[in-house]
């Protein structure tokens, strides 16, 4: 099975974000980056399928030069090769514009299965998977917990809301958005890290793919949210804060 996994590099989860002076983005000078966590689960699902059924895992990433680090990590974990669509100057892409570029690269690979994470931890539209499926003409399912190969295709377990699940069958090729947290993520081994250096990374420019398109939506402004509630922050030493909280809960909120 040839499996293509879309991965994205995003600011680390515990980043302290500051709004940039343009008001259109966040300051990126001091940020550290990592693989988008939901994509790490998609990669893990792809690697497990390859271990079971053989084939190849190809990591596909659209991002600036710094994303090479995230791609190397994916190769070190076991991806066989990677495609890096390197665009430092691409500016804001809405989910469809970004997916068109990914789709152009994916089409050339003709994979049996395309895997994506559920959503990105940065912009969080949560749309890349189903958009790619539509652009590639593939059946799809999202929030996938398990993937099983069947006679004519795959059978997947999909999470619904409120503790419900459902199995869905579909032919291959297909696209799946993988639910986060479904398995334990592997670490790269020393051998894996060594091998990664010799694996192929194909570098493309978005313009090579001829997939430029106008955005359908525009981000006007980025800002810190106003608090819905006025939070009373309790300061002092941990001991003082704890004592003050108990007093407030008892005499002010009257909930204990």
């Amino acid at each position: 099975m040839k499996i293509l996994v879309a991965i994205k590099q995003v600011p680390a989860r515990d980043s302290q974000l500051k709004i940039s002076s343009s008001g259109l983005s966040v300051e990126d000078a001091d940020l550290s980056y990592e693989i988008n966590e939901p994509d790490a689960y998609a990669l893990e699902a792809g690697l497990q399928l390859k271990e079971k059924h053989g084939g190849e895992v190809v990591a596909l990433c659209l991002g600036p030069a710094r994303a090479a680090q995230t791609i190397r990590e994916a190769l070190a974990k076991g991806a066989d090769r990677a495609i890096h669509i390197e665009g430092d100057e691409i500016g804001f892409l809405d989910p469809l514009s970004a997916a068109r570029i990914l789709a152009a690269a994916a089409r050339a690979e003709a994979p049996d299965l395309v895997l994506t994470g559920l959503q990105s931890d940065d912009f969080g539209y949560g749309q890349t998977g189903p958009i790619l499926a539509e652009l590639l003409g593939l059946p799809h399912a999202t929030l996938i917990m398990e993937v099983e190969k069947t006679e004519g295709g795959i059978r997947v377990k999909r999470e619904l809301e409120d503790g419900w699940f459902q199995h869905v069958e579909m032919p291959l090729p297909a696209l799946l958005s993988i639910q986060s947290g479904i398995s334990k993520l592997r670490y790269a081994t020393l051998m894996g890290i060594k091998k990664a250096k010799t694996k192929e990374v194909k570098r493309l420019a978005p313009t090579d793919l001829g997939a430029a398109s106008a955005n359908s939506i525009q981000m006007d402004r980025v800002y810190l949210p106003e608090r819905a509630k006025q939070t009373q922050l309790l300061g002092g030493s941990p001991k003082e804060a704890a004592a003050l909280l108990v007093e407030k809960l008892k005499f002010e909120a009257r909930v204990i």
């Binding site: 600011p11 515990d14 302290q16 974000l17 966040v26 989910p95 469809l96 997916a99 931890d121 912009f123 969080g124 949560g126 749309q127 890349t128 189903p130 958009i131 499926a133 539509e134 799809h140 399912a141 929030l143 999470e159 619904l160 809301e161 503790g163 419900w164 699940f165 459902q166 869905v168 069958e169 579909m170 986060s180 947290g181 479904i182 106008a214 955005n215 359908s216 939506i217 525009q218 981000m219 006007d220 402004r221 800002y223 810190l224 949210p225 608090r227 509630k229 939070t231 009373q232 922050l233 309790l234 941990p238 001991k239 804060a241 704890a242 909280l245 108990v246 809960l249 909930v255 204990i256």
Partner: protein, 324 residues
């Protein structure tokens, strides 16, 4: 210019979030000087559609087909494309449910446009809708505007609008029969199932202490368990803790777990991703203990302590013991 709401039902029961979206559509319609309509998709759901007859809507579209009985992204996309060509709304609003997340990006793409997903608020500026959505797990907001022609799609986050603001009125029902062929539908959904009965009913708890990623290691949960015991509270968790197997799934609060509304909800080391917030923001009093002062949990917290939970929790245990 009009607004169409795609309501969500499964097996003849509403997804209640649909009514929040309907209320939002009425509000936006008033601000934009237009009208709102609703669409109900399924098979044998006329009685559900009829429930909307007492609302202030221009029209209720009843979209029925055998292949809409069980949800599939292919049949829903096909039927909705036909309905949109017929009804020609300017804006299409949907609740941001798991099902909508599954088909809306596909539907919008098939019409060469992009949906604004997970919207938390809106305003009208110079006759145009500006939508507010969250970035970076709720740490940052952004204003988004449509630059493409109608239909313009948006999905609304759970709890962003209030269903009790729905306006009464009367609405006529129009039946719309889409053409969907079995060959158009490539996925085959099976019966829905639940994995285990819930032994813990967090919804009934008066006091809840919940633990999140900030706890770092499975062994450290014991400390939070002790705090819960001292307070006489139930122990709960955010999703990553249950995914890791550190606490059973039945103790998970959030969109994929339980929805709770205790007198007191104490969030320890929980940053407050929206998936968690929707499950607990109805709590009467919320306390957050977190090292990051910008964590979204502080947006819903009444009391907050910013600092290292490994120093604060032992002091809380001591303080609650003294208070008894």
């Amino acid at each position: 210019m009009s607004i169409l709401v795609v309501m969500e039902q499964r097996g003849g029961s509403w997804n209640r979030m649909s009514f929040e979206t309907l209320a939002a559509a009425q509000q936006m319609a008033a601000e934009l000087g237009t009208t709102a309509s609703a669409a109900v998709l399924g098979q044998g759901v006329e009685s559900l559609a009829a429930e909307l007859a007492g609302r202030q809507l221009e029209k209720i579209y009843l979209v029925e087909h055998e292949l809409l009985k069980e949800y599939t992204p292919d049949a829903y996309t096909s039927a909705l494309r036909q309905l949109l060509a017929h009804a020609a709304p300017e804006y299409v609003l949907l609740p941001h449910t798991y099902q909508v997340r599954d088909f809306l990006p596909k539907l919008a793409t098939s019409l060469n446009t992009v949906a604004v997903s997970d919207v938390v608020a809106h305003r009208v500026e110079a006759g145009a809708l500006v939508l507010v959505r969250q970035l970076f797990q709720g740490k940052v907001n952004s204003d988004v505007r449509f630059t493409a022609a109608a239909p313009r799609f948006a999905s609304l986050q759970a709890g962003a609008y209030r269903a009790d603001r729905l306006m009464e009125g009367s609405a006529p029902l129009e039946k719309f029969a889409p053409q969907v062929a079995p060959g158009d539908v490539r996925t085959r959904p099976q019966e829905r199932f639940r994995e285990s009965a819930r032994a813990v009913d967090l919804a009934a708890a008066e006091l809840i202490v919940a633990v999140g990623r900030g706890i770092k290691e499975a062994e450290n949960i014991a400390m939070v368990q002790e705090l819960a015991t001292v307070m006489g509270a139930e122990l709960a968790a955010s999703r990553p803790i249950c995914d890791a197997g550190w606490l059973p799934m039945e103790r998970q609060v959030g969109s994929s777990g339980q929805t709770v509304g205790p007198k007191l909800y104490m969030a320890i080391g929980i940053s407050g991703a929206i998936q968690h917030l929707v499950g607990m923001k109805g709590s009467r009093t919320i306390v957050a203990v977190n090292k990051d002062p910008n964590a979204p949990i502080f947006e819903v917290a009444d009391y907050g302590i910013v600092g290292d939970l490994f120093q604060i929790v032992p002091e809380l245990i001591a303080a609650f013991k003294t208070a008894k």
